[in-house]
């Protein structure tokens, strides 16, 4: 494996980050040169230098191996998270080293979990950088580099195949170049339309842009301490529900729907299951809330239930109320939503509806096979017979995912968290949701967690984002030989 090539590509990704830091510094400059201007300019210069250095020595490479591709992708996420700490650390305030690391990882992995007690105390430049980290992370750090830098050439195929899971590629029947372009166009358009929608709904331009970036990357960072509850507007909630729903769908399907292609959102079995889960969960939660007299009317119950179901199901994490006050039944449904999450090929994290569907169909096939031992049954999705190996991989992933949640819960409770907080923190971080229940509810944050727990949770976020095996592989010495 050529380490120099890996360093070169990570350097290119750092250049993209430096550009975003400079953009945030621009925001700080136009906001009367706020206190984040200097840290952002400094950070961008350092990142630029760090990114440029490998380009001096290492020549561009036309082909890269799978191992190199893995190292570039995983290395990029790790290095981006480290470099993303620079503006936070230089600005100071609530950002200690572990807090800056937590916020940076949470941003890039689009988890949206925060350690900040007073978000509104942050200057605009830093708020924008916070949103930029999640916006870059939403589409994938490496994908962003692939989108912006056409010079990568033939290596694009390898890098995109490592960054995008095999499930995510299923709905793209195009060349790599086109896939990358589709993702770019869809992501930009959805963000732009959401920004305009939020502005028309009553937000100022800055808040509209920040919340649109956060919603489209399914991150859940807000510029306000009380998240979306601050705005207290049904129209804003409606715009965000639509934006989050779109961001949780496969980008290829959105593109196909907009361009009038045959395999669109309405025909896809996965997207039908996606919308069914949202609808059924929302109605069940609303009825539960209404019957428990938490809300006076069914309409209010439905409004809150729909917003939070979409928010947690798409792994965004925006909030309008404190869900800790809801019924246990509602909380259980929300935890289920936090585990299953959006579709593959979207910006959301979690297990993905695609895998959930495959697992459900495999269970059905197994039950049918028990009734008719001699019959041959095949598992189909959208009329396509699923490969046995692929289904095996899906089941292994689900088991690994559950195991990771179990280990996370164990570690969280070991370091002092109660069962609900520990479990929901593990689910929330592995699925990149953000808020959980208990001490880390929708209106709370992770600031009170011990340092060790904060670090463990960042590892869970990275493992969840890199779909577990990507990161774990790097720790096996045999893999490097």
């Amino acid at each position: 494996m050529r380490i120099s090539v890996v360093i070169r590509y990570i350097g290119i990704i750092l250049l993209v980050l430096a550009a975003f830091m400079l953009m945030s510094a621009g925001i700080a400059y136009v906001s009367n040169v706020d206190s984040s201007y200097y840290p952002l300019v400094m950070s961008s210069l350092l990142t630029l230098l760090l990114g440029c250095f490998p380009l001096i020595f290492v020549p561009s490479s036309d082909s890269i191996s799978t191992k190199e591709g893995y190292c570039i992708v995983v290395g990029s996420w790790l290095v981006a998270s480290v470099v993303g700490m620079f503006p936070y650390l230089m600005w100071g305030g609530e950002f200690t080293v572990i807090n800056a690391w937590f916020e940076s990882v949470s941003g890039f992995t689009t988890t949206g979990a925060s350690i900040l007690n007073n978000i509104e105390a942050l200057p605009r430049g830093l708020l924008f950088w916070r949103m930029a980290t999640c916006w870059i992370g939403g589409v994938g750090v490496v994908m962003f580099a692939l989108i912006i830098l056409p010079s990568i050439g033939r290596s694009k195929r390898m890098l995109s195949s490592v960054e995008l899971s095999s499930l995510a590629k299923d709905n793209f029947n195009y060349r790599t170049q086109t896939i990358v372009r589709i993702i770019l166009i869809t992501y930009f358009l959805v963000t732009a339309v959401t920004t305009i929608g939020l502005k028309l709904a009553g937000m100022c331009w800055f808040d509209a842009l920040c919340h649109a970036m956060s919603a489209c990357s399914t991150c859940g960072f807000s510029t306000k301490n009380t998240s979306i509850a601050f705005f207290n507007s049904g129209l804003i909630e409606f715009v965000l529900i639509v934006a989050m729903c779109i961001a949780g769908l496969h980008f290829g399907l959105i593109y196909a729907t907009v361009t009038g292609k045959h395999n669109n959102v309405f025909r896809s079995e996965v997207s039908r299951v996606y919308f069914t889960i949202i609808g059924v969960s929302s109605v069940l939660i609303a009825i539960s809330l209404w019957l428990s007299d938490i809300y006076p009317t069914l309409w209010l119950s439905l409004r809150s239930a729909l917003f939070h179901t979409v928010s947690l199901f798409t792994t965004t994490g925006f909030a309008t109320v404190d869900c800790n006050t809801w019924t246990s039944f509602a909380i259980l449904i929300l935890i289920f939503c936090s585990i299953v999450c959006g579709c593959a090929g979207s910006t959301s994290g979690g297990l993905k509806v695609d895998r959930f569907l495959v697992a459900a169909k495999m269970i059905r096939t197994r039950l049918r096979a028990q009734r008719h031992p001699d019959a041959i049954f095949r598992t189909k999705i959208d009329g396509v017979v699923q490969d046995e190996d692929m289904m095996g991989v899906v089941m292994v992933y689900i088991v690994a995912y559950m195991l990771l949640i179990l280990i996370g819960t164990f570690l969280n409770t070991l370091f002092g968290a109660d069962l609900m907080t520990g479990f929901s923190a593990a689910v929330s971080c592995v699925s990149n949701v953000g808020p959980g229940f208990g001490e880390i509810g929708t209106m709370s944050n992770y600031s009170l967690m011990p340092i060790v727990t904060k670090f463990n949770l960042t590892l869970l976020m990275l493992l969840g984002r890199l779909e577990i095996f990507g990161l774990i592989q790097l720790f096996f010495i045999r893999w490097w030989r």
Binding site: I3, S4, I7, P39, M42, S43, L45, L46, L49, L50, C52, F53, P54, I56, F57, V58, P59, F86, L89, M90, W91, G92, G93
Partner: protein, 269 residues
Amino acid sequence: MKGIRKRVTIGFLSIVILLFFSGLVSLFELNNMSGDIDAILGSSRRSIAVSEGLLDAIHAHDRAVLRYAVLRDSLYADSCNSCYDELVEKVRLAREESSASAVTLFDSLDMLAQSMQNVVAKLQASRVVEYVPPVQVDSLAPPAPSVFDGWNWYNKNYLPEYNALSDGVLRVMTSSQSSLSPRAELLSRNAYRAVTPVFISLVVMIAILLMFYYFVMIYIAKPIVDMNKSLGDSLKYKIPFVVKSECRDEMAELKERIEAVVNNKPIRS
């Protein structure tokens, strides 16, 4: 300048620039911090001087009143008034130097000083201090008017006013000191900011140095070592000259030329 020399020079220059940059940042931040410390110390010194002046003026007034009322030295009647004027002037000066948030404290200080002076003015107006009762020769004569008890007047009328005014000055003093604490907090944040960019620059520099070492090793040192070994082997054992390590720029040219000499291959133009 091109090839290896260019790359090594650019690499070296970027390290120098980073070093210069981190030095510049630390100098700039330390300069800022020094300015902040000077400002805080100056402000603290000024506030102590102002409070000291106020307390001195109150004590001078107190001494004059003691001499006038207790020791019944009527010459000090004017001194009481001049000390009061001096106190009022000092309060005015202190008000000018203080922040807007301390205005209410100075208003109350003005009122307390005025109240204290009113007590003294009332005493002066009664002229009981100047009154000396006649010496009684005949014991059967009617009793003379009661003698003015200065000490009693001082304790009952003046001392509470004096204490209230002293407390007022103390409040001004503590408020100006407590107004420094946010600035001191800012200073600690600035100290953190002064150290962090330099620390981060150092971390980046270490990363760049490690990369520089690694690239020099694999693109310069390793090809030279490999070429030397392969050339030695081919001269000694007459085996073909083969270098597996990646060669760039002049290294690639050198490798090609040695290959041409040893393996009798034509040199590419």
